[in-house]
Symmetry: C2
Subunit: 298 residues, 2 copies
């Protein structure tokens, strides 16, 4: 139980944490800072209860009991500076960023004596952005990866672990390096692919573009779903994790070229066995309850 929780960056993820934390009674008071000034009015419109909005991040930090950073990852450095100058050394800070090596390095290099930091990454989301689309159950049955900045058994880690568990998550601990590699493949590469496909389609002439929209139910629409995400967020991920993404892109492109060649050479049974194999991966994802449900006619 925290006296209050400060959420810096109040979008889909931040607002879902707020909803989840209030619902799970981890706190009775949410403090909000967001550099987007429209958030203040939108909080009112959305009838958010037990939420206090701050227009100054230093003011918000001064009053905070537990802090979660929910901004694009390249904004951390600015926030860390405020934390250094304003925060109580005992206050625990965590985050939800999709890259970890860069922020662990930043913290260890320059801020480790200024505040307690436990980097974490809840693997959950929808295609929507904005506080209006958040919901308390977003984290239920999903995984959270914690990447310790130092000793794996310190008390702060236990507190942050417990926080995510109360929001319904399962928590894993691993190095930032391992996290960035895994997420490079499960998230960053898929997003880059989706953006590339949509950009390819956008280059077509006008009549073809309108056909793409009309007949997108054939598969294309699935790719556009993940490109609906916050562009600032993804720009930062791509810039920060580019080495790993580049390596996986290479493997993926070579796989795709191979399939194209096999199609040309009419390697019918080889193609079939490859397509059959991929179903097994899908089955594991369904078994792990990560699949979600898609309703085509909604």
């Amino acid at each position: 139980m925290f006296k209050n929780i400060l959420i810096i960056g109040f979008g889909l993820i931040g607002s879902s944490i707020a909803r989840g934390a209030l619902k799970a009674k981890i706190t009775n008071q949410i403090l909000v800072y967001d550099k987007d000034k429209t958030v203040k009015n939108r909080l009112k419109k959305a009838k958010f209860k037990k939420v206090q909005y701050f227009s100054s991040v230093s003011e918000a930090i001064k009053n905070a009991n537990f802090i979660v950073i929910c901004t694009p990852v390249l904004q951390y450095e600015g926030i860390f500076k405020y934390l250094k100058n304003n925060n109580n050394i005992t206050t625990i800070v965590t985050d939800v960023g999709s890259t970890k090596s860069n922020i662990v390095k930043l913290y260890n290099d320059s801020y480790k004596n200024d505040f307690k930091f436990v980097p974490s990454h809840p693997i959950a989301g929808t295609e929507k952005s904005g506080l209006e689309h958040g919901f308390a159950e977003l984290f239920h049955d999903r995984y959270n990866i914690i990447c310790p900045v130092g000793n794996k058994k310190n008390k702060s880690i236990t507190i942050v672990k417990d926080f995510w568990r109360k929001l319904g998550m399962q928590v894993d601990i691993m190095s930032a390096k391992k996290h960035d590699k895994i997420l490079g493949l499960t998230s960053h590469l898929p997003h880059l692919i989706a953006y590339s496909l949509v950009l390819t389609a956008m280059k077509k002439e006008k009549t073809m573009k309108s056909s793409i929209v009309k007949y997108s139910a054939g598969g294309f629409r699935d790719f556009t779903r993940i490109t609906e995400n916050n562009p600032n967020f993804w720009r930062d991920v791509f810039l920060v994790n580019q080495n790993i993404i580049h390596d996986f892109s290479k493997s993926f492109i070579s796989e795709m070229k191979k399939l194209n060649l096999e199609m040309k050479q009419k390697k019918s049974s080889l193609l079939l066995s490859k397509l059959e194999k991929t179903r097994k991966v899908r089955k594991s994802i369904i078994k792990a309850k990560m699949a979600g449900k898609f309703i085509p006619n909604d």
Copy 2:
């Protein structure tokens, strides 16, 4: 109103047509042929009403009043031979195949005097296969593309158009060549990309593979959804439409390489503007009611 409708190939699409046609009262009797002999018992288990199963395709064709081919596209030649030998010249045959130039050519070259054929393609589906997963509403508000084999204004086309409209579809008419190009981009390329990504992931070492499944909610699971489809169906599409798929693959790969380079060169504002642009495509798809709804925690 047809006396009966024969569906050759009774999987997700075939069984959804059967359900939709009975519900819309287009017919009172569905005839079924499927080369998979388990279909007979599965029809009983699924408590399908007003359905007559045939173990011989010639027998089924002899009795048919209206025919819909719902098999993978490379099986059409065998079926066309049966239609030539058994069918009444006045019976109208349509299909649901995802490639059109090849079957229009096949028909025009060798079968145009044997039966009336109106090639069509309902752009609708889910990731599931099998008659157990079909539902009458699958086609509601989706588009169907008809690719006439000859004169665009003959009576058979009107009848087939009317058939799909009664199942809830909007019908467009275009050349087979145009169809194959558009579907190459809206469906075949996305599927090839999804298969390539899953195959790339499958090559990783065991620990990484299990991490991919656990953390698939970051985006990867969306790609596995479309790889759950019938492998025979997709093998045939890839073999038949490979030239067009190859061309689009090249554009897509070059787009992806460009993004990778821009990431490396830290072209921050260029990246951001590209990611922002793609949202517009998504918005058009939502506006066209093609998006569907994804429920992450189902």
